[in-house]
Amino acid sequence: MGLRRSGALTPETSVDWQAIALTLKLATVVCAALMLIGLPLAYWLTFSRWRWKFLVESVVALPLVLPPTVLGFYVLVAIGARSPIGQVWTTWFGHGLAFTFEGLVIASMLYSLPFAVQPIAAAFSQVDPALLEASSTLGASRPRTFARVVMPLSLKGVLTGAILSFAHTIGEFGVVVMVGGNVPGVTRTVSISIYDDVQALDYASANATALLLVAFSFVVLALVYALNRKVWAAQPKP
């Protein structure tokens, strides 16, 4: 931590490092958790022949069309102290989920789910089914086929899913406001901090934090896309 934010009324410019660190932590945790959930979910969405699959697809895509406040509102209700989830969580951990970092992670995961799942599922469905058949006739089980054929051929989509869910989590506002509130170091993310600065007419601080966020996001995306290009230079064009 460098400069500490000294309060909304102080006139000097200050970058909210605490909020930046929290945002990066949130985005990293959400991105990692979404990879754990998104990969099997995308696999199922791609290869399942269940007739009602389209219903699950619709649910996964819901956050794309819903206003974040709507999503945030229902998540808040679902994890609130009176809800079954909130009660179980309180029994296990001694505190509720609302207005905590964990609650924020859950809400952000739901919010960013389609950004992780859709590119991965798209990449999986691009893998030639003949390769999967070839793998199975060569004695490979499904998990082995997944690890040795599906994943290597879908790296680009998986990477895209990871980038998008990370970037999308960094930029979220509505869900955080609804579920997390504005607790410094716990739920006050960069977008909330900037909003606060603007509300306090501290445009200089808002600008400093915002600019840093823009620069950081650009560098991360540029790095990953550069890496992406290198990885795929060796691949034959489909």
Binding site: D128, A130, L131, E133, A134, S135, S136, T137, L138, G139, A140, S141, R148, V149, P152, L153, A234, Q235, P236
Partner: protein, 360 residues
């Protein structure tokens, strides 16, 4: 090793595949026109398509048995399958592809075994290349090596060599034969190309209309077609309805008129009475083309005609000649050039009596 296949599957309202055959060690050609169900049979043996009913077994080990409710999953069947489009893994090297199916022995022996197979298929020097960086023939070799590296109990090849020239095909098949000769593995080779049947197979099973139409050694099965449909799939490009005019049993010949024309031809004696309707078949490659009217020939059938069309099909020139009926004739590009054949040019077709097959 013996592969036995009894297989029934409804593919559409009008088409049900219902076959029953056995394949001993060695190369057996599964032959039939496009859409005759050859690929479905192979996929059924590999476990990629589930038959409606039947039994598929290697020796006494069932891979599928609808009566006993047995359906061994694909990875456990130990059936090598090379699909028409090969399906090599594009992200793995040739070595990586071949090593893919070698079971979990220790790493060193795996690499050693892969190298040995790469060497027997003459692609060891390519082991570091990706499939996109090697030629079609090398890709076929890689696909074969990959399937054989798993030590399959049965090998299924779905037109794997159709896209290659004849020399490359036979070289690859020779290498394949060497490999399987020590292992007594049944190999089912699917093709619709007549030429490959004679070049590659020791036995042939002819599939048509969803049934096994004939089986045996290629010469017996394909040179004496007993049915019209079989004649066509067996590669007799020219099949005509005809009427017997007269017969000379003592000469072993008879004279026939091709239906709907005035063309008369001399064909081998079949026992048919004068006036009886018969079918005649002749291969496009067994017809000679002369640029001027030939004289003093032993061949009894010289038909005057005109070239209706000419087009190239791989290394072969396919000509359609109107000489009464329309004949399909196959020529080499050299012959075509030296006769300066072109559409509309008058030509004479020469067909030996014994080039005709009488189809009953």
């Amino acid at each position: 090793m013996m592969l036995s296949v009894r297989f029934r599957k409804r593919l559409s309202d009008a088409f049900t595949l219902d076959v029953d055959f056995a394949v001993p060690a060695g190369v057996t050609i599964l032959f039939g026109a496009s859409g005759s169900g050859k690929t479905t049979v192979l996929r059924g043996i590999a476990g990629l398509t589930r038959p409606d009913a039947g039994r598929i077994a290697v020796q006494d080990i069932p891979l599928f048995d609808s009566a006993a409710d047995i359906d061994i999953p694909v990875p456990q069947r130990k059936v090598g399958y090379v699909a028409q489009h090969l399906a090599l893994f594009p992200h793995l090297t040739v070595h990586g592809n071949v090593e893919y199916g070698i079971s979990r022995v220790d790493r060193y022996r795996r690499a050693e075994r892969a190298q040995m197979i790469l060497a027997s298929f003459k692609i060891a020097h390519l082991s570091g290349r990706k499939p996109g960086e090697i030629s079609g023939g090398e890709q076929q070799r890689t696909a074969l090596a990959r399937a054989l590296a798993t030590d399959p109990r049965v090998l299924l090849l779905d037109e794997p060599l159709s896209a290659l020239d004849y020399a490359t095909q036979t070289h690859i098949m020779d290498d394949l034969r060497t490999w399987i000769s020590e292992r007594a593995v049944p190999v089912v080779y699917v093709t619709h190309a007549h030429r490959e049947v004679f070049a590659l197979g020791e036995r042939v099973i002819v599939l048509g209309g969803g049934r096994v139409q004939a089986q045996g050694i290629p010469h017996d099965v394909l040179d004496a077609p007993a049915r019209h449909a079989l004649a066509i799939i067996a590669g007799f490009e020219n099949v005509f309805e005809a009427t017997v005019l007269s017969s000379r049993a003592d000469w072993g010949t008879m004279s026939c008129r091709v239906a709907g024309t005035t063309t008369e031809v001399e064909v081998p004696f079949s026992g048919a009475e004068p006036g009886a309707p018969i079918r005649l078949a002749v291969r496009a490659g067994d017809i000679l083309v002369a640029g001027a009217e030939p004289h003093a020939l032993s061949a009894r059938n010289v038909l005057e005609g005109v070239i209706g069309s000419l087009h190239r099909q791989g290394p072969t020139i396919v000509a359609h000649v109107i000489a009464g009926p329309s004949f399909e004739v196959h020529l080499t590009p050299g012959a075509c050039e030296s006769l300066s054949l072109a559409q509309g040019r008058p030509v004479w077709l020469v067909i030996k009596t014994y080039s005709w097959r009488v189809v009953v």
